[in-house]
């Protein structure tokens, strides 16, 4: 395995950074009146902090960390349902690793595991299906999580389970779509965003067209970006140039991976297996219309909500007192401006979900240094 060191070339990076600084100056942005760019995807948030990009860009440019960390936007009520399913006798509950620590009102999956629930970390839904074949006497449940990046692999696994006649495999479906919360953010009258960095992996599946409303209806630029440091810097520059030139377009910096039309095969299998829910709750953002997916009637046998009769929204759970994940996710607060940041809420004892996943804005900010060098508030 060799990975793309050319996308990390410090010389090239310096060139792009110089152009970024020049463009920020041309726009007339300052520390007091910064240009605010939201990176939607948690992978981008992580890459920004991990590479120290937040400290390399000029003061007049501010990153707002968006709602694109699937673990972070998972509502407490759904974590509770996951814990309830996992505790049922006979169940083996399978999940991606970073969902293990997300706190619900009943604790996290990690805690449920320590208390004896059979919870296993998998790297792919196919691993869960394999477990179902190996353990025919157990009920294998897969925690279906994530945006359009992971949605197709879950759908394909469900279809494969049906084709093979596997009867002890279900999916607890919490898959969500990336564009509905962006509309919510853009419709917020307090919204302060000037442009967006679009998610690379999600766009590989959905293409770039679904973002057209951001440019056309709301007049904001968006650039779909890759995940290497130079990808990010170049995308920032592209957004800044649109702002400077008064343009609002959907541009694709990540064309080596993202086709304009996305992946039609993946989209077709998703459409076959899932249908949109009327509404789905996002942690910190509340209920958002047609933002979540459920498993279609035709695949009801593989739906954990039906198998365990829990449905959606049977129980609700409020976020813990003092948790400001919503404000941080909408860009109204920076992570370290939350009163709980680093005190009542740390990666060791997370209060809110943004502190849980390494892609969460608060966890990335805490781990890579934001909290120890707080910038002036306000």
């Amino acid at each position: 395995m060799k990975f793309s060191s050319e996308f990390r070339d410090p010389e090239l990076a310096r060139g792009v950074l110089t152009a970024i600084a020049r463009t920020v100056a041309e726009i007339g942005a300052t520390a007091e009146r910064p240009v605010r760019i939201m990176e939607i995807c948690g992978g981008h948030t992580h890459a920004i902090f991990r590479n120290g990009i937040d400290r390399l860009v000029p003061e007049g440019l501010e990153f707002i960390h968006g709602p694109g960390c699937p673990v972070c936007v998972l509502p407490m009520a759904r974590v509770d349902e996951a814990v309830r399913i996992a505790r049922l006798p006979g169940v083996v509950f399978t999940t991606f690793g970073d969902a293990m620590r997300v706190p619900g009102t009943l604790g996290s999956l990690n805690q449920a595991k320590a208390e004896g629930a059979d919870i296993r970390m998998v790297y792919s839904p196919l691993d869960a299906l394999e477990l179902a074949r190996r353990l025919p006497d157990r009920e294998i449940v897969f925690f279906g999580l994530g945006f359009e990046t992971t949605t197709p692999s879950t759908a394909l696994t469900i279809r494969q389970a049906r084709d093979e006649g596997v009867t002890n495999f279900t999916v607890f479906c919490n898959h969500i779509a990336v564009t509905p919360p962006l509309r919510v953010l853009l419709e917020d009258p307090h919204m302060l965003l000037d442009g967006f960095i679009g998610p690379g992996h999600v766009s590989m599946v959905i293409g770039t067209r679904p973002y057209a409303f951001i440019a056309n209806e709301f007049g904001k630029p968006i650039v779909v970006a890759g995940f290497e440091p130079l990808d990010l810097l170049q995308s920032v520059l592209m957004v800044l140039r649109q702002i400077r030139d008064g343009r609002a377009e959907v541009e694709n910096q990540y064309a080596r991976v993202v086709p304009e039309a996305g992946n039609p095969v993946a989209l077709a299998v998703c459409d076959e297996v899932y249908e949109p829910r009327r509404s789905f709750e996002w942690r910190g953002l509340g209920e958002i219309d047609r933002s979540g997916l459920r498993i279609r009637e035709a695949y009801a046998d593989f739906d954990a909500e039906r198998r365990f009769e829990i449905g959606y929204g049977a129980r609700s759970a409020a976020d813990p007192d003092g948790c400001a994940c919503g404000e941080v996710m909408t860009g109204r607060l920076k992570p370290f401006q939350c009163p709980q940041f680093g005190t009542g809420c740390t990666p060791r004892m997370p209060l809110g979900a943004l502190m849980v996943s390494s892609e969460g804005a608060c966890a990335a900010c805490y781990q890579y240094g934001g909290q120890r060098r707080p910038e002036p508030v306000g």
Binding site: P229, S358, Q367, G369
Partner: protein, 322 residues
């Protein structure tokens, strides 16, 4: 059954006598000012055997290295085994033999031990505990508290091979990567570097928590800051690639035969030369230095020219969703 298990260990380790206790003497203990070093560690690993080692080599080298990095010459080990009922005898014999080989390679003797068998489900195959005794020669005083601003941080070779090899060996991911654990004794390397540079301030082996944990501990104990340079970190492409795919950070991956040293600034070149002359230290490089700024904190200059904090890891590294 009992006799069979005893026979396996006695055959492999060939203890000098069969009493319940080992009776030990070594010339080095007689030197005025010499001190005994004594350490213990328990080992659990899944899978029990992996490319580059097994739980037995881990248990020997882990304890040998704990002694060596404190400046001690490791001499004797004890080994205690907790076996799950039904554990294959063939496998146990294989692991006992590889422990004997590891002990011989490190120049230590396994002089006493114990075995318990517990019911099925009460243990995960095999747990091993080793304790070790070594002698610290007079005048040798290694410790994290002795690190001073300006001291150079050196690592003895590539980082993260053990952690990455174990991840791949678990077979949970359909990834085939050619990686071996770096599991090896470090006492020879320590002897070589201390002979050339007695001024070494502190030495550690970067096991659980990886290089990040060691540097944070040094920064905390010495009340100084540590700055490392991302571009200087020795990493195999395979490890970097695996970490990229899984969303892990190689700074936190465990090593089982990688030394981290802090040496005074004028002695770094001599230390590197001495290390590179040994097999275990062939890949030694300077990765950073202690600084007076930001006491207790480790900062990395990223390859891109940015900066970030390298914190202690909370819990285990969990692979990301996407």
């Amino acid at each position: 059954m009992r006799d069979l298990i005893d026979e396996i260990f006695v055959t492999a380790f060939e203890p000098a006598e069969m009493e319940d206790q080992a009776r030990l003497a070594d010339e080095a203990m007689r030197a005025a000012g010499a001190r005994l070093a004594f350490t213990t560690d328990s080992f659990v690993v899944s899978p029990l055997e992996f490319p580059g080692g097994d739980i037995g080599t881990l248990a020997v080298n882990g304890t040998v290295n704990d002694l060596a990095v404190g400046g001690a010459r490791p001499l004797w080990l004890s080994a205690a085994f907790i076996l799950e009922e039904g554990f294959e005898i063939v496998r146990l014999r294989r692991i006992a033999r590889s422990m004997a080989r590891a002990a011989a390679a490190a120049g230590v003797a396994i002089v006493t031990g114990d075995t318990k068998v517990v019911g099925r489900g009460s243990a995960d195959g095999l747990f091993v505990t080793t304790s070790g005794i070594g002698v610290i020669p007079p005048g040798r005083e290694l410790g994290e508290v002795h690190v001073r601003p300006g001291d150079v941080a050196i690592v003895s070779g590539v980082l993260g091979d053990h952690g990455a090899a174990i991840l791949v060996a678990r077979g949970d991911m359909a990834l085939s990567v050619d990686l071996e654990s770096d599991c090896q004794p470090l006492n020879g390397l320590m002897d070589a570097v201390l002979a050339a540079v007695p001024e070494v301030r502190a030495a550690r082996d970067a096991t659980r928590g990886g290089l990040a944990a060691v540097l944070n501990e040094v920064a905390g104990a010495a009340r100084c800051g540590v700055v490392i340079d991302e571009a200087a970190l020795p990493l195999r492409d395979e490890v970097t690639g695996l970490c990229e795919i899984l969303g892990l950070d190689p700074l936190y991956l465990a090593n089982e035969g990688t030394l981290v040293l802090f040496v005074p600034p004028g002695r770094a070149a001599a230390a590197l030369d001495a290390m590179r002359a040994t097999e275990a230290g062939r890949g030694a490089v300077a990765v950073g230095r202690a600084v007076a700024d930001h006491p207790g904190m480790v900062v990395m200059r990223t390859a891109l020219g940015g900066e970030r904090i390298v914190d202690m890891l909370v819990g285990d590294q969990l692979p990301r969703i996407c």
